[in-house]
């Protein structure tokens, strides 16, 4: 019979005498852990720089967008300026309704479209012509 009990002891005694590899090959040393600290700091600082850059870029893009919006929503700059030619101005204000309208310079006030009511006799010649026309229309309408 093979002496198993004694052979177990011999196995342990002899195999335990085999050499181990150098410690640096299998035991993680502390300097290795310390060396990782600068790397960690570098990674963290790079992350902070990236985040700050992203925030600043986003903010600048937002400002640019807001500026662009203001420019596009300010068409009043292109409105015709008030001009006064031949004694008449093209700006019309109404304090009662709180508005001021600027019309282009080449616009003119059209003569009032006269209806069927009478005009005072103090109107000028052009008004008399209009009155004649309107009277004729009234006559034709009445017939």
């Amino acid at each position: 019979m093979f002496p198993e009990l004694s052979i177990e002891r011999v196995f342990r005694q002899e195999i335990d005498s085999l050499p181990l590899p150098p410690e640096h090959l299998w035991i993680p040393d502390r300097p290795a852990a310390r060396r990782s600290i600068p790397l960690t700091a570098l990674v963290i600082s790079a992350t902070v720089v990236l985040v700050l850059g992203a925030v600043l870029t986003t903010r600048e893009a937002g400002d640019a967008a807001a500026t662009r919006r203001r420019v596009t929503t300010a068409p009043l700059v292109n409105l015709p300026r008030p001009t006064c030619l031949r004694g008449g101005c093209n700006i019309y204000r109404s304090d009662a309704f709180g508005y001021g309208i600027v019309l282009p310079a080449d616009w003119r006030v059209a003569p009032l479209f006269t209806a069927a009511h009478r005009r005072p006799a103090s109107w000028n010649a052009s008004s008399s012509r209009a009155r004649r026309l309107s009277n004729g229309r009234m006559r034709s309408d009445s017939t």
Partner: protein, 155 residues
């Protein structure tokens, strides 16, 4: 199992399992690589119980070496020229145990070392190697017969 616990077990178990692997593989580099592979595997999928750790690591390490071997079950003298470690082989040849193990296949050596050095029984060896208990018994019986013959030849 936490990474800290695993690191503690690594320091505790490394010498015993490394030496067991040396006795089986007879090569320092292969033993070290195999044990590192086993510990990495354990870090990913640790065994259920700490008590089984030595046997589990040993078998995982032995298996990891077989993945890269073309002829894993050949007798040692057939492959020592290509993968042997002269210093370790010389040390093992000076030992009675080393001479006895030299005539076995790598699988037989692994089971013999698991039983006589790591103290696993047949059931535990079968579970770790993923074979039936009868297979372990048969393999160990063949290994013991060869070792007996070796003892007879020497005497």
């Amino acid at each position: 199992m936490t990474a800290e616990r695993w690191a503690e077990l690594y320091r505790l178990e490394f010498p015993r399992i490394y030496r067991a692997l040396l006795a089986v593989l007879r090569d320092r580099d292969r033993a070290l690589d195999a044990l590192h592979d086993a510990f990495v595997a354990g870090l990913r999928h640790p065994p259920a119980h700490d008590a089984e750790l030595a046997g589990w690591l040993f078998v995982v390490a032995v298996r990891s070496t077989r993945r890269f071997r073309r002829l894993p079950l050949l007798p040692l003298e057939w492959v020592t020229g290509s993968s042997g470690d002269d210093e370790i082989e010389a040390a093992l040849d000076r030992m009675e145990v080393g001479r006895l193990l030299a005539g076995l296949t790598e699988r037989q050596r692994a089971m013999v070392v698991a039983q006589f050095y790591l103290g696993l029984d047949h059931r535990e060896i079968a579970r770790h190697f993923g074979v039936k208990t009868g297979t372990v018994s048969a393999t160990l019986a063949q290994a013991k017969a060869r070792m007996r013959a070796e003892v007879r030849n020497v005497s």
